[in-house]
Protein backbone atom coordinates (compact mmCIF):
# COMPACT_ATOMS: atom_id res chain seq x y z
CA UNK A 1 0.00 0.00 0.00
CA UNK A 2 2.78 2.37 0.94
CA UNK A 3 6.31 1.98 -0.22
CA UNK A 4 9.16 4.30 0.52
CA UNK A 5 12.13 3.86 -1.75
CA UNK A 6 15.52 5.00 -0.76
CA UNK A 7 14.59 8.51 0.24
CA UNK A 8 16.94 11.24 1.31
CA UNK A 9 15.69 14.19 3.29
CA UNK A 10 17.38 17.52 3.75
CA UNK A 11 16.32 20.23 6.17
CA UNK A 12 16.90 23.86 5.49
CA UNK A 13 18.78 23.05 2.29
CA UNK A 14 21.86 21.90 4.14
CA UNK A 15 21.10 19.42 6.89
CA UNK A 16 20.89 15.87 5.62
CA UNK A 17 18.80 13.77 7.95
CA UNK A 18 17.63 10.68 6.08
CA UNK A 19 20.22 8.86 4.03
CA UNK A 20 18.37 6.40 1.95
CA UNK A 21 15.44 4.98 3.86
CA UNK A 22 13.25 2.34 2.33
CA UNK A 23 10.23 0.69 3.83
CA UNK A 24 7.13 -1.10 2.82
CA UNK A 25 3.72 -1.12 4.46
CA UNK A 26 1.37 -3.75 3.07
CA UNK A 27 -2.37 -3.19 2.94
CA UNK A 28 -4.20 -3.90 6.17
CA UNK A 29 -1.07 -4.50 8.19
CA UNK A 30 0.57 -2.76 11.11
CA UNK A 31 4.20 -1.84 10.68
CA UNK A 32 6.32 -0.30 13.35
CA UNK A 33 9.37 1.87 13.14
CA UNK A 34 11.77 1.85 16.06
CA UNK A 35 14.97 3.69 16.78
CA UNK A 36 16.82 5.92 19.16
CA UNK A 37 16.22 9.63 19.58
CA UNK A 38 17.18 11.65 16.59
CA UNK A 39 17.31 8.68 14.26
CA UNK A 40 14.91 10.31 11.86
CA UNK A 41 11.72 8.40 12.57
CA UNK A 42 9.53 11.45 12.80
CA UNK A 43 11.23 12.84 9.75
CA UNK A 44 10.34 9.71 7.83
CA UNK A 45 6.69 10.09 8.78
CA UNK A 46 6.67 13.75 7.86
CA UNK A 47 8.26 12.93 4.54
CA UNK A 48 5.43 10.53 3.84
CA UNK A 49 2.65 12.85 4.91
CA UNK A 50 4.12 15.85 3.16
CA UNK A 51 4.47 17.88 6.35
CA UNK A 52 8.18 18.13 5.80
CA UNK A 53 7.49 21.08 3.60
CA UNK A 54 6.20 23.10 6.50
CA UNK A 55 9.54 22.71 8.25
CA UNK A 56 11.77 23.69 5.38
CA UNK A 57 12.54 20.07 4.68
CA UNK A 58 12.62 18.34 1.32
CA UNK A 59 12.84 14.86 -0.10
CA UNK A 60 15.85 15.19 -2.34
CA UNK A 61 16.10 11.65 -3.61
CA UNK A 62 13.99 8.54 -3.83
CA UNK A 63 10.27 8.22 -4.12
CA UNK A 64 7.25 7.51 -2.00
CA UNK A 65 4.40 5.55 -3.41
CA UNK A 66 0.99 5.46 -1.78
CA UNK A 67 -1.63 3.27 -3.46
CA UNK A 68 0.00 3.68 -6.81
CA UNK A 69 0.53 7.42 -6.52
CA UNK A 70 3.73 9.36 -6.18
CA UNK A 71 3.46 11.50 -3.08
CA UNK A 72 7.02 12.56 -2.37
CA UNK A 73 7.03 16.33 -1.77
CA UNK A 74 3.29 16.38 -2.34
CA UNK A 75 0.89 18.74 -0.65
CA UNK A 76 -0.08 17.58 2.81
CA UNK A 77 -3.74 18.32 2.29
CA UNK A 78 -3.84 16.31 -0.93
CA UNK A 79 -2.16 13.42 0.79
CA UNK A 80 -4.70 13.51 3.59
CA UNK A 81 -7.48 13.56 1.05
CA UNK A 82 -6.06 10.50 -0.58
CA UNK A 83 -6.50 8.71 2.74
CA UNK A 84 -3.24 8.98 4.61
CA UNK A 85 -3.42 10.61 8.00
CA UNK A 86 -0.60 11.47 10.35
CA UNK A 87 -0.83 11.90 14.10
CA UNK A 88 2.03 14.21 14.86
CA UNK A 89 4.44 13.79 17.67
CA UNK A 90 3.80 15.92 20.72
CA UNK A 91 0.00 15.87 20.59
CA UNK A 92 -0.53 19.04 18.61
CA UNK A 93 -4.19 19.59 19.26
CA UNK A 94 -5.87 22.90 18.59
CA UNK A 95 -5.66 24.39 22.04
CA UNK A 96 -8.20 27.12 21.69
CA UNK A 97 -11.00 24.82 20.66
CA UNK A 98 -13.03 22.36 22.64
CA UNK A 99 -12.61 18.61 22.39
CA UNK A 100 -15.66 18.26 20.21
CA UNK A 101 -14.46 20.96 17.85
CA UNK A 102 -11.10 19.23 17.62
CA UNK A 103 -12.79 15.99 16.77
CA UNK A 104 -15.00 17.63 14.18
CA UNK A 105 -11.90 19.04 12.59
CA UNK A 106 -10.47 15.57 12.35
CA UNK A 107 -13.38 14.75 10.09
CA UNK A 108 -12.73 17.81 7.96
CA UNK A 109 -12.12 15.84 4.78
CA UNK A 110 -15.14 13.65 5.23
CA UNK A 111 -18.33 14.33 3.42
CA UNK A 112 -20.60 11.65 4.98
CA UNK A 113 -23.04 11.98 7.81
CA UNK A 114 -21.44 9.66 10.34
CA UNK A 115 -19.43 12.32 12.13
CA UNK A 116 -21.71 12.47 15.16
CA UNK A 117 -21.56 8.73 15.68
CA UNK A 118 -17.84 8.70 15.34
CA UNK A 119 -17.49 11.38 17.98
CA UNK A 120 -19.45 9.11 20.27
CA UNK A 121 -17.19 6.26 19.30
CA UNK A 122 -14.13 8.25 20.31
CA UNK A 123 -15.74 9.19 23.58
CA UNK A 124 -16.36 5.55 24.20
CA UNK A 125 -12.73 4.77 23.69
CA UNK A 126 -11.68 7.68 25.89
CA UNK A 127 -14.47 8.43 28.34
CA UNK A 128 -12.36 11.02 30.15
CA UNK A 129 -12.66 13.35 27.19
CA UNK A 130 -16.42 13.51 27.38
CA UNK A 131 -16.28 15.31 30.67
CA UNK A 132 -13.75 17.85 29.55
CA UNK A 133 -15.90 20.57 28.01
CA UNK A 134 -13.42 23.42 28.33
CA UNK A 135 -10.74 24.32 25.85
CA UNK A 136 -8.46 21.50 24.83
CA UNK A 137 -5.40 23.51 25.77
CA UNK A 138 -6.21 22.98 29.41
CA UNK A 139 -6.26 19.21 29.17
CA UNK A 140 -3.52 17.23 30.85
CA UNK A 141 -0.76 15.85 28.66
CA UNK A 142 -2.25 12.40 28.52
CA UNK A 143 -5.72 13.70 27.79
CA UNK A 144 -4.33 15.66 24.90
CA UNK A 145 -2.70 12.52 23.58
CA UNK A 146 -6.06 10.74 23.73
CA UNK A 147 -7.64 13.57 21.85
CA UNK A 148 -4.96 13.47 19.17
CA UNK A 149 -5.48 9.78 18.60
CA UNK A 150 -9.23 10.21 18.64
CA UNK A 151 -8.96 12.95 16.10
CA UNK A 152 -7.15 10.70 13.69
CA UNK A 153 -9.91 8.14 13.93
CA UNK A 154 -12.42 10.77 12.94
CA UNK A 155 -10.91 11.05 9.48
CA UNK A 156 -11.62 7.39 8.74
CA UNK A 157 -8.46 7.23 6.67
CA UNK A 158 -7.12 4.30 4.76
CA UNK A 159 -3.87 4.53 6.56
CA UNK A 160 -2.70 6.18 9.77
CA UNK A 161 0.82 7.24 10.63
CA UNK A 162 1.17 7.34 14.39
CA UNK A 163 4.10 9.13 15.95
CA UNK A 164 4.66 7.82 19.44
CA UNK A 165 1.04 7.25 20.41
CA UNK A 166 1.82 5.93 23.84
CA UNK A 167 3.96 8.82 24.93
CA UNK A 168 2.84 10.26 28.22
CA UNK A 169 0.06 7.78 28.73
CA UNK A 170 -0.34 5.85 31.93
CA UNK A 171 0.42 2.12 31.71
CA UNK A 172 -3.27 1.38 31.81
CA UNK A 173 -3.94 3.62 28.88
CA UNK A 174 -0.95 2.40 26.93
CA UNK A 175 -2.45 -1.03 27.05
CA UNK A 176 -5.81 0.34 26.01
CA UNK A 177 -4.43 2.44 23.21
CA UNK A 178 -2.65 -0.51 21.70
CA UNK A 179 -5.80 -2.49 22.11
CA UNK A 180 -7.68 0.19 20.24
CA UNK A 181 -5.05 0.27 17.53
CA UNK A 182 -5.33 -3.43 17.04
CA UNK A 183 -9.09 -3.24 17.06
CA UNK A 184 -9.26 -0.46 14.51
CA UNK A 185 -6.87 -2.32 12.32
CA UNK A 186 -8.89 -5.48 12.58
CA UNK A 187 -12.39 -4.02 12.40
CA UNK A 188 -11.92 -1.19 9.97
CA UNK A 189 -8.96 -2.58 8.10
CA UNK A 190 -6.96 0.61 8.50
CA UNK A 191 -3.31 0.21 7.70
CA UNK A 192 -0.90 1.64 10.24
CA UNK A 193 2.66 2.77 10.46
CA UNK A 194 3.61 3.31 14.07
CA UNK A 195 6.68 5.02 15.44
CA UNK A 196 7.15 3.88 18.97
CA UNK A 197 9.54 3.81 21.85
CA UNK A 198 7.60 1.21 23.67
CA UNK A 199 9.02 -1.58 21.56
CA UNK A 200 7.38 -4.31 23.57
CA UNK A 201 3.87 -3.21 22.78
CA UNK A 202 4.66 -2.03 19.33
CA UNK A 203 6.12 -5.32 18.23
CA UNK A 204 3.29 -7.17 19.83
CA UNK A 205 0.64 -5.48 17.72
CA UNK A 206 2.74 -5.07 14.61
CA UNK A 207 3.24 -7.51 11.81
CA UNK A 208 6.54 -6.17 10.69
CA UNK A 209 9.16 -3.83 12.08
CA UNK A 210 12.02 -1.60 11.02
CA UNK A 211 14.79 -0.26 13.16
CA UNK A 212 16.37 3.04 12.21
CA UNK A 213 19.50 4.69 13.28
CA UNK A 214 21.18 7.90 12.09
CA UNK A 215 18.90 8.25 9.14
CA UNK A 216 19.16 4.68 7.89
CA UNK A 217 17.23 1.50 8.33
CA UNK A 218 19.60 -0.87 10.04
CA UNK A 219 17.44 -3.87 10.68
CA UNK A 220 14.06 -5.12 9.66
CA UNK A 221 12.02 -8.22 9.96
CA UNK A 222 8.72 -9.63 11.04
CA UNK A 223 7.79 -8.82 14.61
CA UNK A 224 8.60 -12.30 15.70
CA UNK A 225 12.03 -12.16 14.18
CA UNK A 226 12.69 -8.86 15.87
CA UNK A 227 11.30 -9.98 19.18
CA UNK A 228 13.75 -12.82 19.14
CA UNK A 229 16.74 -10.84 17.92
CA UNK A 230 19.30 -10.66 20.68
CA UNK A 231 20.29 -7.07 20.05
CA UNK A 232 16.72 -5.91 19.87
CA UNK A 233 16.06 -7.73 23.08
CA UNK A 234 18.93 -6.10 24.82
CA UNK A 235 18.47 -2.57 23.62
CA UNK A 236 14.77 -2.20 23.02
CA UNK A 237 12.96 -4.78 25.00
CA UNK A 238 14.91 -4.91 28.20
CA UNK A 239 16.68 -8.18 28.52
CA UNK A 240 13.97 -10.39 27.15
CA UNK A 241 14.61 -13.85 28.40
CA UNK A 242 17.07 -13.09 31.17
CA UNK A 243 16.13 -11.49 34.41
CA UNK A 244 15.14 -7.89 33.90
CA UNK A 245 17.98 -5.54 34.80
CA UNK A 246 17.17 -2.94 37.37
CA UNK A 247 17.42 0.66 36.25
CA UNK A 248 19.05 1.32 39.55
CA UNK A 249 22.09 -0.72 38.80
CA UNK A 250 23.03 0.69 35.44
CA UNK A 251 25.69 2.82 36.89
CA UNK A 252 28.54 2.01 34.63
CA UNK A 253 28.96 3.32 31.15
CA UNK A 254 27.64 0.49 29.11
CA UNK A 255 28.51 -0.81 25.78
CA UNK A 256 26.34 0.76 23.17
CA UNK A 257 25.10 -1.23 20.32
CA UNK A 258 25.45 0.56 17.04
CA UNK A 259 24.63 -1.19 13.88
CA UNK A 260 26.66 1.14 11.80
Amino acid sequence: MLSVNNIEVVYDEVILVLRGVSLEVPQGKIVTLLGPNGAGKSTTLKAISGLLKTEDGKVTRGDINFMGQQIANGNPEDIVRSGLFQVMEGRRIIEDMTCVENLRLGAYTRKDKGVKDDIDMVFEYFPRLRERTGLAGYLSGGEQQMLAIGRSLMARPKMILLDEPSMGLSPLLVKEVFGIIEKINRDQGITMLIVEQNANFALKVADYGYIMESGKVVLDGTSDELLNNEDVKEFYLGGGSEERKSFKNIKSYKRRKRWL
Binding site: E8, V10, D12, E13, V14, I15, L16, V17, G38, T60, S214, G215
Partner: protein
Amino acid sequence: MAGFSMRPCGDFRTTYRQDTRIFDTTFVRYAAVCGVIATGLIPFVLDGYYVNLFIQISYFAIAALGLNILVGFTGQISLGHAAFFGFGAFASAWINNHTGIPVLLSIPLAGLMTAAVGLLFGLPAARIKGLYLAIATLAAQFILEDFFARANWFTGGSSGAAANPVNVFGYEVFDDFSFFYVCLFFLVVMFLLGSNLMRTRDGRAFVAVRDHYLSAEIMGINLTKYRLMSFAISSFYAGVGGAIYGHYLGFVSAEGFTILLSIQFLGMIIIGGLGSVKGTLMGTVFMVMLPEVMESGVSMMSVFDWANSTAVTDGLAYIKEMAIGLAIILFLIFEPDGLAHRWKQIRAYWKLYPFSY
Protein backbone atom coordinates in the same frame (compact mmCIF):
# COMPACT_ATOMS: atom_id res chain seq x y z
CA MET B 1 22.46 15.33 13.49
CA ALA B 2 23.92 18.27 11.77
CA GLY B 3 24.06 21.92 12.43
CA PHE B 4 26.81 21.72 14.93
CA SER B 5 29.91 21.76 12.87
CA MET B 6 29.55 24.91 10.89
CA ARG B 7 33.08 26.16 11.04
CA PRO B 8 36.12 25.39 9.02
CA CYS B 9 38.00 22.30 9.86
CA GLY B 10 41.29 22.89 11.47
CA ASP B 11 40.11 25.83 13.47
CA PHE B 12 39.56 24.22 16.80
CA ARG B 13 38.86 26.34 19.74
CA THR B 14 40.89 25.50 22.71
CA THR B 15 39.37 27.91 25.19
CA TYR B 16 35.83 28.95 25.93
CA ARG B 17 36.91 32.47 25.39
CA GLN B 18 37.52 31.79 21.75
CA ASP B 19 34.17 30.17 21.55
CA THR B 20 32.27 33.17 22.83
CA ARG B 21 33.71 35.67 20.41
CA ILE B 22 31.46 37.98 18.48
CA PHE B 23 33.25 37.13 15.28
CA ASP B 24 33.76 33.48 15.42
CA THR B 25 36.92 32.97 13.45
CA THR B 26 40.10 34.94 13.30
CA PHE B 27 39.46 35.54 9.67
CA VAL B 28 36.04 37.04 10.27
CA ARG B 29 37.47 39.15 13.04
CA TYR B 30 40.06 40.68 10.80
CA ALA B 31 37.54 41.01 8.04
CA ALA B 32 35.31 43.02 10.36
CA VAL B 33 38.12 45.30 11.44
CA CYS B 34 39.12 45.78 7.82
CA GLY B 35 35.48 46.48 7.00
CA VAL B 36 35.35 49.27 9.56
CA ILE B 37 38.60 50.74 8.30
CA ALA B 38 37.44 50.51 4.73
CA THR B 39 34.22 52.23 5.68
CA GLY B 40 36.32 54.91 7.28
CA LEU B 41 37.83 55.61 3.91
CA ILE B 42 34.49 56.23 2.22
CA PRO B 43 34.68 60.03 2.40
CA PHE B 44 38.04 59.96 0.66
CA VAL B 45 36.97 57.82 -2.24
CA LEU B 46 33.28 58.42 -2.71
CA ASP B 47 31.40 61.65 -3.07
CA GLY B 48 29.13 63.42 -0.66
CA TYR B 49 26.10 61.56 -1.81
CA TYR B 50 27.46 58.27 -0.53
CA VAL B 51 28.69 59.91 2.62
CA ASN B 52 25.18 61.14 3.23
CA LEU B 53 23.77 57.70 2.60
CA PHE B 54 26.19 56.22 5.07
CA ILE B 55 25.22 58.78 7.66
CA GLN B 56 21.56 57.93 7.11
CA ILE B 57 22.35 54.27 7.41
CA SER B 58 24.20 54.75 10.64
CA TYR B 59 21.58 56.67 12.57
CA PHE B 60 18.83 54.46 11.31
CA ALA B 61 20.83 51.34 12.02
CA ILE B 62 21.46 52.36 15.61
CA ALA B 63 17.77 52.91 16.16
CA ALA B 64 16.90 49.74 14.28
CA LEU B 65 19.24 47.75 16.47
CA GLY B 66 17.25 49.02 19.42
CA LEU B 67 14.05 47.87 17.80
CA ASN B 68 15.59 44.51 17.08
CA ILE B 69 16.47 44.10 20.73
CA LEU B 70 12.83 44.72 21.54
CA VAL B 71 11.16 42.86 18.70
CA GLY B 72 13.72 40.39 17.51
CA PHE B 73 15.24 39.40 20.79
CA THR B 74 12.51 39.95 23.35
CA GLY B 75 9.61 39.31 21.03
CA GLN B 76 7.61 42.45 21.77
CA ILE B 77 6.47 44.11 18.57
CA SER B 78 6.63 47.86 18.66
CA LEU B 79 4.91 50.18 16.24
CA GLY B 80 6.07 53.28 18.03
CA HIS B 81 9.78 53.25 17.47
CA ALA B 82 9.77 56.38 15.34
CA ALA B 83 8.30 58.31 18.22
CA PHE B 84 11.18 57.29 20.46
CA PHE B 85 13.58 58.12 17.69
CA GLY B 86 11.97 61.54 17.53
CA PHE B 87 12.02 61.94 21.26
CA GLY B 88 15.76 61.39 21.25
CA ALA B 89 16.17 64.05 18.60
CA PHE B 90 14.15 66.60 20.52
CA ALA B 91 15.71 65.65 23.83
CA SER B 92 19.24 66.09 22.62
CA ALA B 93 18.43 69.43 21.02
CA TRP B 94 16.71 70.50 24.20
CA ILE B 95 19.53 69.44 26.50
CA ASN B 96 22.07 71.14 24.33
CA ASN B 97 20.06 74.32 23.85
CA HIS B 98 18.97 74.71 27.43
CA THR B 99 21.91 73.55 29.45
CA GLY B 100 24.78 74.05 27.09
CA ILE B 101 25.97 70.50 27.58
CA PRO B 102 28.05 69.73 24.50
CA VAL B 103 26.35 67.78 21.80
CA LEU B 104 28.64 64.80 22.02
CA LEU B 105 27.44 64.33 25.58
CA SER B 106 23.88 65.35 25.03
CA ILE B 107 23.45 62.51 22.55
CA PRO B 108 23.87 59.71 25.11
CA LEU B 109 21.98 61.79 27.66
CA ALA B 110 19.12 62.06 25.22
CA GLY B 111 19.36 58.31 24.91
CA LEU B 112 18.88 58.02 28.65
CA MET B 113 15.92 60.37 28.62
CA THR B 114 14.36 58.38 25.83
CA ALA B 115 15.01 55.21 27.79
CA ALA B 116 13.03 56.70 30.66
CA VAL B 117 10.16 57.51 28.34
CA GLY B 118 10.39 54.05 26.81
CA LEU B 119 10.19 52.58 30.26
CA LEU B 120 7.04 54.55 30.90
CA PHE B 121 5.36 53.34 27.74
CA GLY B 122 6.71 49.87 28.35
CA LEU B 123 4.84 49.59 31.63
CA PRO B 124 1.76 48.04 30.04
CA ALA B 125 4.05 45.36 28.60
CA ALA B 126 4.08 43.78 32.00
CA ARG B 127 0.56 42.67 31.26
CA ILE B 128 -0.03 42.98 27.55
CA LYS B 129 1.43 40.64 25.00
CA GLY B 130 1.74 40.06 21.29
CA LEU B 131 -0.27 42.12 18.90
CA TYR B 132 -2.17 43.74 21.73
CA LEU B 133 1.10 45.14 22.88
CA ALA B 134 1.96 46.14 19.35
CA ILE B 135 -1.14 48.27 19.20
CA ALA B 136 -0.44 49.69 22.63
CA THR B 137 2.87 50.88 21.25
CA LEU B 138 0.98 52.33 18.33
CA ALA B 139 -0.80 54.37 20.96
CA ALA B 140 2.58 55.48 22.24
CA GLN B 141 3.40 56.56 18.73
CA PHE B 142 0.38 58.80 18.45
CA ILE B 143 0.54 60.11 21.98
CA LEU B 144 4.17 61.11 21.56
CA GLU B 145 3.54 62.63 18.15
CA ASP B 146 0.83 64.73 19.72
CA PHE B 147 3.20 65.63 22.51
CA PHE B 148 5.83 66.81 20.03
CA ALA B 149 3.41 69.09 18.31
CA ARG B 150 2.15 70.48 21.59
CA ALA B 151 5.04 70.72 24.02
CA ASN B 152 6.38 74.09 22.99
CA TRP B 153 8.76 74.30 25.91
CA PHE B 154 10.45 71.11 24.87
CA THR B 155 10.09 70.68 21.16
CA GLY B 156 9.26 74.12 19.94
CA GLY B 157 5.79 72.85 19.12
CA SER B 158 4.78 72.21 15.59
CA SER B 159 7.41 74.55 14.22
CA GLY B 160 10.20 72.40 15.55
CA ALA B 161 13.48 73.00 17.29
CA ALA B 162 16.93 73.95 16.10
CA ALA B 163 19.69 71.50 16.87
CA ASN B 164 23.28 72.61 17.05
CA PRO B 165 25.97 70.83 15.12
CA VAL B 166 28.25 68.41 16.87
CA ASN B 167 31.21 70.04 18.51
CA VAL B 168 34.31 67.94 19.04
CA PHE B 169 36.93 69.65 21.21
CA GLY B 170 35.90 73.06 20.04
CA TYR B 171 35.78 72.03 16.41
CA GLU B 172 32.33 72.35 14.88
CA VAL B 173 31.40 69.39 12.78
CA PHE B 174 29.47 71.13 10.07
CA ASP B 175 30.09 69.17 6.98
CA ASP B 176 29.18 65.62 6.20
CA PHE B 177 32.80 64.71 5.84
CA SER B 178 33.54 65.05 9.54
CA PHE B 179 30.07 64.13 10.65
CA PHE B 180 30.64 60.86 8.94
CA TYR B 181 33.24 59.96 11.53
CA VAL B 182 31.01 60.94 14.40
CA CYS B 183 28.43 58.53 12.95
CA LEU B 184 30.95 55.80 12.35
CA PHE B 185 32.09 56.11 15.94
CA PHE B 186 28.58 55.84 17.33
CA LEU B 187 27.69 53.06 14.95
CA VAL B 188 30.65 50.90 15.87
CA VAL B 189 30.29 51.54 19.58
CA MET B 190 26.57 50.92 19.65
CA PHE B 191 26.86 47.74 17.62
CA LEU B 192 29.64 46.39 19.76
CA LEU B 193 27.66 47.17 22.89
CA GLY B 194 24.66 45.48 21.35
CA SER B 195 26.58 42.38 20.36
CA ASN B 196 28.08 42.13 23.80
CA LEU B 197 24.74 42.52 25.42
CA MET B 198 23.32 39.72 23.37
CA ARG B 199 25.97 37.23 24.31
CA THR B 200 25.76 37.82 28.03
CA ARG B 201 23.27 37.17 30.76
CA ASP B 202 20.65 39.80 30.09
CA GLY B 203 20.73 39.28 26.35
CA ARG B 204 20.04 35.59 26.81
CA ALA B 205 17.27 36.43 29.19
CA PHE B 206 15.64 38.55 26.49
CA VAL B 207 15.67 35.72 24.01
CA ALA B 208 14.44 33.31 26.63
CA VAL B 209 11.50 35.59 27.34
CA ARG B 210 10.71 35.69 23.66
CA ASP B 211 10.98 31.99 23.01
CA HIS B 212 9.12 30.70 26.02
CA TYR B 213 8.28 33.19 28.68
CA LEU B 214 6.65 30.68 30.99
CA SER B 215 9.66 28.48 31.23
CA ALA B 216 11.93 31.51 31.31
CA GLU B 217 10.19 32.61 34.45
CA ILE B 218 10.65 29.22 36.01
CA MET B 219 14.33 29.38 35.10
CA GLY B 220 14.59 32.38 37.37
CA ILE B 221 14.02 35.24 34.96
CA ASN B 222 11.93 38.09 36.22
CA LEU B 223 9.55 38.66 33.33
CA THR B 224 8.39 42.13 34.23
CA LYS B 225 11.88 43.35 34.78
CA TYR B 226 13.13 42.06 31.47
CA ARG B 227 10.17 43.18 29.45
CA LEU B 228 10.58 46.67 30.82
CA MET B 229 14.30 46.58 30.45
CA SER B 230 14.09 45.70 26.80
CA PHE B 231 11.78 48.65 26.25
CA ALA B 232 14.24 50.90 28.01
CA ILE B 233 17.27 49.62 26.13
CA SER B 234 15.47 49.71 22.85
CA SER B 235 14.41 53.28 23.47
CA PHE B 236 17.94 54.15 24.45
CA TYR B 237 19.17 53.06 21.06
CA ALA B 238 16.31 54.85 19.36
CA GLY B 239 17.11 57.96 21.33
CA VAL B 240 20.77 57.91 20.40
CA GLY B 241 19.94 57.32 16.75
CA GLY B 242 17.37 60.09 16.83
CA ALA B 243 19.73 62.50 18.53
CA ILE B 244 22.36 61.95 15.86
CA TYR B 245 19.69 62.47 13.23
CA GLY B 246 18.62 65.72 14.86
CA HIS B 247 22.09 67.16 15.07
CA TYR B 248 22.80 66.09 11.57
CA LEU B 249 19.78 67.86 10.14
CA GLY B 250 20.33 70.82 12.40
CA PHE B 251 16.61 70.99 12.83
CA VAL B 252 14.04 68.74 14.39
CA SER B 253 10.42 68.90 13.42
CA ALA B 254 7.55 66.81 14.60
CA GLU B 255 6.47 65.74 11.14
CA GLY B 256 9.42 63.47 10.62
CA PHE B 257 8.49 60.83 13.16
CA THR B 258 5.31 59.29 11.92
CA ILE B 259 3.98 55.78 11.97
CA LEU B 260 5.44 55.42 8.50
CA LEU B 261 8.91 55.69 9.90
CA SER B 262 8.03 53.22 12.62
CA ILE B 263 6.94 50.81 9.97
CA GLN B 264 10.13 51.45 8.08
CA PHE B 265 12.11 50.52 11.16
CA LEU B 266 10.16 47.31 11.40
CA GLY B 267 10.90 46.69 7.77
CA MET B 268 14.60 47.07 8.40
CA ILE B 269 14.73 44.46 11.09
CA ILE B 270 12.41 42.00 9.42
CA ILE B 271 14.25 42.21 6.15
CA GLY B 272 17.56 41.99 7.92
CA GLY B 273 16.47 39.17 10.13
CA LEU B 274 14.78 39.32 13.49
CA GLY B 275 17.10 38.69 16.35
CA SER B 276 20.28 39.26 14.43
CA VAL B 277 22.62 42.13 15.13
CA LYS B 278 24.32 41.73 11.78
CA GLY B 279 20.98 41.46 10.06
CA THR B 280 19.93 44.81 11.47
CA LEU B 281 22.73 46.47 9.63
CA MET B 282 21.97 44.63 6.42
CA GLY B 283 18.28 45.42 6.66
CA THR B 284 18.96 49.08 7.24
CA VAL B 285 21.23 49.23 4.23
CA PHE B 286 18.48 47.58 2.21
CA MET B 287 15.76 49.98 3.32
CA VAL B 288 17.89 53.08 2.90
CA MET B 289 19.25 52.05 -0.47
CA LEU B 290 15.95 50.85 -1.90
CA PRO B 291 14.44 54.26 -2.70
CA GLU B 292 17.82 55.52 -3.83
CA VAL B 293 18.33 52.63 -6.20
CA MET B 294 14.81 53.05 -7.52
CA GLU B 295 15.44 56.72 -7.91
CA SER B 296 18.60 56.21 -9.90
CA GLY B 297 16.76 53.64 -11.96
CA VAL B 298 14.25 56.34 -12.72
CA SER B 299 16.93 58.90 -13.50
CA MET B 300 18.59 56.44 -15.80
CA MET B 301 15.43 56.39 -17.86
CA SER B 302 15.88 60.04 -18.60
CA VAL B 303 18.57 59.29 -21.18
CA PHE B 304 15.71 58.28 -23.39
CA ASP B 305 13.92 61.16 -24.97
CA TRP B 306 10.50 59.68 -24.56
CA ALA B 307 11.09 59.47 -20.84
CA ASN B 308 11.45 63.19 -20.48
CA SER B 309 7.86 64.24 -20.88
CA THR B 310 6.17 65.06 -17.62
CA ALA B 311 3.57 62.40 -18.17
CA VAL B 312 6.21 59.73 -18.19
CA THR B 313 8.26 61.12 -15.35
CA ASP B 314 5.17 61.36 -13.18
CA GLY B 315 4.29 57.80 -14.05
CA LEU B 316 7.81 56.82 -13.13
CA ALA B 317 7.45 58.52 -9.79
CA TYR B 318 4.51 56.27 -9.01
CA ILE B 319 6.25 53.28 -10.44
CA LYS B 320 9.15 54.02 -8.16
CA GLU B 321 6.87 54.01 -5.13
CA MET B 322 5.19 50.86 -6.32
CA ALA B 323 8.55 49.27 -6.92
CA ILE B 324 9.54 49.96 -3.34
CA GLY B 325 6.44 48.16 -2.13
CA LEU B 326 7.00 45.40 -4.61
CA ALA B 327 10.64 44.98 -3.68
CA ILE B 328 9.66 44.47 -0.05
CA ILE B 329 7.03 41.93 -1.00
CA LEU B 330 9.26 40.00 -3.38
CA PHE B 331 12.09 40.08 -0.95
CA LEU B 332 9.99 38.54 1.77
CA ILE B 333 8.52 35.95 -0.53
CA PHE B 334 11.97 34.72 -1.44
CA GLU B 335 13.70 35.48 1.81
CA PRO B 336 11.12 35.34 4.56
CA ASP B 337 13.68 34.77 7.27
CA GLY B 338 15.70 37.79 6.38
CA LEU B 339 19.13 38.50 5.06
CA ALA B 340 20.92 37.23 8.13
CA HIS B 341 19.45 33.81 7.61
CA ARG B 342 20.53 33.65 4.00
CA TRP B 343 23.95 34.80 5.04
CA LYS B 344 24.18 31.91 7.48
CA GLN B 345 23.09 29.46 4.82
CA ILE B 346 25.66 30.71 2.39
CA ARG B 347 28.32 30.39 5.01
CA ALA B 348 27.20 26.96 5.99
CA TYR B 349 27.24 25.97 2.38
CA TRP B 350 30.79 27.10 1.82
CA LYS B 351 32.03 25.57 4.99
CA LEU B 352 30.56 22.22 4.18
CA TYR B 353 31.50 22.44 0.56
CA PRO B 354 32.28 20.06 -1.13
CA PHE B 355 30.70 17.88 1.51
CA SER B 356 27.42 19.72 1.63
CA TYR B 357 24.85 17.21 2.81
